[in-house]
Structures are given as structure tokens and as C-alpha cells.
């Protein structure tokens, strides 16, 4: 079922919003013991929201755009009155005092929020194994990771526990789990979706993005959540407009970055991406090789900026304003240290790295240089987009990997994000569309466009979707 099908079905009284909500909650019950996508299921709230939709229908009023659509939220997105943990013991008992702006927009659009999903602690990770509450399993293959950090969100859609989900993407955290779980996931242009009410990881990189089973479902959610918000100073005046038509293949000039097909890319991933590009070429699209020379430095720059902003954003977790106070009779510094002991290993590492990168004597070599790379990368993309109108390539060098394989090796985990971080560093939008699988291990293709060209992004993604479905 798609969002369009739901709109039709509700209008024709084929089913009620309540029935849809109950089906979702039932499915969650059967899938959760295997998948563990959810940290919190909001059954009562969901049924109440569904009732509101059914009331609208019985009053014969116009159906809002996401009426009756079941939706989960990454647990870094505030839902009023519900626990919001960011996957961390630091916020184990924290209850959200307000809705994130994206949540109030979803509610106004009639969406039915079924729960909060699992994530790597504070968004730090590419597998959801760094959650303080246990990992999520990939619904396509339970022994492998769903990707991260929005693994629970991707899994909840892949397991059909809900139709759509909101995740959050800082270095690939929506696109990667979308690729690993075989669903669609998108990161918008920085500034087009409000960050108000999103637990911050790296403020110059974070963006909320939707997951769905189809490109159009993602697009419909993006349409609802995007737009200026006065509560977010980085929010931009932006309006998406109508649902886009698929692009005609001959209109596409697809740039393929040579650096994304270099050593380190799993040949099985490469094969599936190349097959997809061949299909597009056969349909009339032109494929040209482009170069993004700063790609090698991009990952290092990303982790410098990410960890630096993390060390600053997580300074607020002192155990005093938020939960977990220990004995107050020690010195202030000792109290803080004791309270922050609840952070997991990856969080501690990144806070350390960031503090170091910003410290006196190292700020120039690390943080300033990383920001310079950002500028170089923007120039790279500008040049590439002068030669092609969209860019395509793999989402990650790796296939979805077994649980436990990379968990103890931080650097190995960082390399998973190789192709996704550039979009966050430059602010351009990107989407992952499922294009195939190997031994039940899904593979997505990543599409990127210049800033604010979500319309082109979605229409191109629809073309890819159609071409892949046609056999």
C-alpha cells in the first residue's frame, strides 16, 4: 500500500484509519521480537490520532495529505509526552516537553505516529549497534545490521511495521540504512527541514529525512515536513510544490564520480550499481564520468567537524539538567565526570576527538583545515554539476555486514560513510533508492543533485525506480 492508496481507500470507506492503525500495531507485535526496531510503541496515541482522522472522514471534511499514514520517528525527534532517549542511557528517563516542528507538521497532516525507533547512541554510528538498548536486526536478513544511525527507522519500514518513518542524517544516517534495508531514504538540502526539536548531533550537518517503500511516499512526507520554521535559525524560506513526474531518461545527464568506484568498493556492490546505470543508459540517459578530487579528504574532514560539533553539543549532558545526578558533595568537575560515565564507548571517543581537534594548538591543523575541505568539496561538486545534472553512485563501499563485525573497530565503521558524508558537508540533497540485492543483502543507488533541487532528485529517483522494476 502507498500513501495514495490510503487516501483512496479512506475516501471510499474501504477501510478506516483505526483499522490501519490496528494493523500496524499488530504487525509491530509480531515483528519486534525478531527486529527490535522500536524503543517505544505509542499505541494509545496512535489510536487517538487515527480516531481524529476517522472523525474528519465522518464529518466529510477534506482529508489532510498524510491522513491515516502510520509513521515512526527516530528517537532523536521529540514527541511530546513520550520518552526520547537518543539511544542513550543519559536520556533514559527524559520525557519530551514539546513536539519537534516536523512532528507537529506530521500531526497536522493526519499522520498516525506509532512509536520511537532505535538508533546508534546520539546518532554516532553506521549500524545501530551502538544503541544503549541493544541493536536492531535487518528485516531482510536478521543476522546483519540495518545500517545506522537511523537503523530502527529503516527497519520499521522494511518490516512493514509502519508505512513511513522520519530519520535524521548527519553523515549518511538515513541514506545508509535505507540502502541496507532495501527501502527509500532521503536527506534534504540543509535548511529545508526544521531542526527544532531534534536532539542535536552536529548542527551544521544534521537534517531530518523521510523513509518510505517508494520514492513518491518519501516525497509526500518531505512535502509536509519541509519549509521555513522560525524556531530554527538555519531554516530557509523554501516551498516544495506539487508531486513531481518521473524524469524522462533522455533528459538525464548522469555524472558518475570516479572516486566512488576506487579501491575499497565491494565488487558485488559495484556490479549492481553498474547494471543500474546500464539500464538507464539503454533507456536513453547519458552517463559521463566526473571527478570529485577532494573525496579522500572529505571523510577525514567530516569526522573532524562531526566530532568537534559533537563535543560542543554534548557538553550540555551534565547529568544535572537532564537526569542522572550523582552525589553533589564532590567538586563540580567530579560530579560532571561521574554523571557522564553513562555515555557509551563511541560517544566518549568522539567527544575526546572533538575536544582534541578544537583544543589550543590543534584547532588550525584539524578544525580549520576540515572547514577548508568543505569549501574545496563545494567547488568539486559545482564543477561536476556543470557537466552533469545529477550524480549517481553507490551509497556505501560495503554490503550490509554481520552484527558484531565492525562494532569494535571505530575506523572501519567510519569508512562505511565514505560516499555519503560529502552531501552533508556541502548541504546538497541525496537519496538512496533500492536497486537490487545479493544473497538477501540489499543494495541502494545514491542520487545527488545541486542545492534545493529536490524536485529533480525525486523525479530522477522515480525514473530509477521504474527502470529497476521493469524486467
Amino acid at each position: 500500500m502507498t500513501i495514495r492508496d490510503i487516501q483512496e481507500g479512506l475516501k471510499n470507506s474501504s477501510f478506516s484509519a483505526r483499522e490501519l492503525a490496528l494493523a500496524s500495531l499488530e504487525r509491530i507485535k509480531t515483528e519486534e521480537p525478531h527486529v527490535h526496531a522500536f524503543l517505544e510503541v505509542t499505541g494509545e496515541k496512535a489510536l487517538a490520532q487515527a480516531q481524529e482522522v476517522d472523525d474528519i472522514i465522518s464529518r466529510k471534511e477534506e482529508l489532510p495529505p498524510l491522513a491515516g499514514v502510520s509513521c515512526s520517528l527516530k528517537d532523536a525527534i521529540l514527541l511530546e509526552g513520550v520518552r526520547c532517549t537518543a539511544g542513550s542511557r543519559m536520556l533514559e528517563h527524559y520525557v519530551a516537553p514539546y513536539d519537534a516542528t516536523v512532528v507537529s507538521r506530521l500531526k497536522r497532516a493526519g499522520a498516525v505516529i506509532v512509536g520511537k525507533t532505535n538508533m546508534d547512541e546520539f546518532g554516532m554510528g553506521a549500524s545501530t549497534e551502538h544503541s544503549a538498548f541493544g541493536p536492531t536486526h535487518n528485516p531482510r536478513n536478521l543476522s546483519v545490521v540495518p545500517g545506522g544511525s537511523s537503523g530502527g527507522s529503516a527497519a520499521s519500514v522494511a518490516a512493514q511495521e509502519c508505512l513511513v518513518s522520519l530519520g535524521e542524517d548527519t553523515g549518511g544516517s538515513v541514506r545508509l540504512p535505507a540502502s541496507f534495508c532495501g527501502v527509500v531514504g532521503m536527506k534534504p538540502t540543509y535548511g529545508t527541514v526544521s531542526r527544532s526539536g531534534i536532539i542535536a548531533l552536529a548542527s551544521s550537518l544534521d537534517q531530518v529525512g523521510p523513509f518510505g517503500n517508494s520514492v513518491e511516499d518519501c516525497e509526500r512526507v518531505f512535502q509536509v515536513i519541509s519549509g521555513k520554521d522560525n524556531m530554527d535559525a538555519t531554516s530557509i524560506l523554501y516551498e516544495y510544490g506539487d508531486i513531481a513526474e518521473p524524469a524522462s531518461a533522455p533528459s538525464l545527464k548522469i555524472g558518475v564520480p570516479r572516486e566512488y568506484f576506487a579501491k575499497g568498493l565491494d565488487p558485488r556492490v559495484s556490479q549492481i550499481i553498474k547494471e543500474t546505470l546500464d539500464k538507464l543508459s539503454n533507456a536513453g540517459a547519458s552517463i559521463i564520468e566526473v571527478s570529485l578530487p577532494s573525496t579522500a579528504q572529505a571523510l577525514a574532514a567530516y569526522y573532524v567537524i562531526n566530532t568537534s560539533e559533537v563535543s560542543s553539543n554534548l557538553a550540555r549532558y551534565d547529568g544535572i539538567r537532564y537526569g542522572n545526578a550523582s552525589e553533589m558533595d564532590s567538586s563540580f568537575a567530579e560530579v560532571l565526570m561521574a554523571n557522564r560515565e553513562v555515555f557509551g564507548n563511541e560517544v566518549r571517543r568522539r567527544i575526546m576527538l572533538g575536544t582534541f581537534a578544537l583544543s589550543a594548538g590543534y584547532y588550525e591543523a584539524y578544525y580549520k583545515t576540515a572547514q577548508e575541505v568543505r569549501k574545496l568539496l563545494r567547488d568539486d561538486f559545482a564543477k561536476a554539476f556543470s557537466q552533469a545534472n545529477v550524480l549517481m553512485g553507490p551509497v556505501s563501499p560495503f554490503l550490509p555486514f554481520p552484527l558484531g563485525e565492525k562494532k569494535e573497530d571505530p575506523l572501519s565503521m567510519y569508512l562505511v560513510d565514505m560516499y555519503t558524508v560529502s552531501a552533508n558537508l556541502t548541504g546538497i540533497p541525496g537519496i538512496s533508492v533500492p536497486v537490487g540485492s545479493i544473497e538477501n543483502l540489499p543494495v541502494g543507488i545514491q542520487i545527488m543533485t545541486p542545492h534545493f533541487q529536490e524536485r529533480l532528485l525525486f523525479s530522477t529517483a522515480k525514473t530509477v525506480e521504474q527502470i529497476v522494476k521493469a524486467r
Binding site: 539538567r321 560532571l336 571517543r349 582534541f356
Partner: protein
């Protein structure tokens, strides 16, 4: 190469507690990541370092009436509440 002493200093700055064994592990882990970061040494800083992602916009600085009980909800996240004030330990020695 980052030394154990530097790691201990950074931990203090970051308010992260590291036990004796942990200092060693953390030093190894940071070293391997910083080794990877050394690829940045090829880059020369030419531009103004702060690349803005966009224009920051503010809103009017106006006090708005919020719903009853909202401030209580926000304060209730703290486990160190006394009335409507959050208690902290003494910051400075007398």
C-alpha cells in the same frame, strides 16, 4: 602522535572520566583515527575558515505566553530540582 598525557588532559577538558586501563585503550583508538586524519595535512587553508551553510535568520525577541505547566515539564527532566530551581554543586572554592 598523541601521548597518554595529552589524552588525560583532553579527558579533563571534556569532563570524561578515564580509568587507568581506559587511558591506554583510548590513546590507541585516538591514535588510529588521528592517523587517518593526517590526510588533511595535504590541505592548505586559503579561505576564511567558517564556511556558512546558509544565512542565519532570527525571529523577533518577543516574550510569548506558553501553556500552563510547560516550564514545570521542562524542569522535571532534572533530578536535582528544588522548587523551580536546579541545584548544582559549588563551582568555585571559597
Amino acid at each position: 602522535m598523541i601521548t597518554q598525557k595529552q589524552v588525560q588532559h583532553v579527558a579533563k577538558l571534556a569532563h570524561i572520566h578515564l580509568g587507568e586501563e581506559e587511558v591506554d585503550t583510548m590513546t590507541q583508538e585516538l591514535r588510529s583515527v588521528l592517523q587517518y586524519f593526517s590526510i588533511l595535512s595535504q590541505v592548505k587553508v586559503k579561505h576564511d575558515p567558517l564556511v556558512s551553510q546558509g544565512v542565519l535568520s532570527g525571529r523577533e525577541d518577543v516574550a510569548v505566553q506558553t501553556e500552563e505547566g510547560k516550564s514545570k515539564k521542562i524542569l522535571s527532566a532534572s533530578s536535582s530540582l528544588e522548587g523551580s530551581v536546579i541545584k548544582v554543586s559549588q563551582l568555585f572554592d571559597r
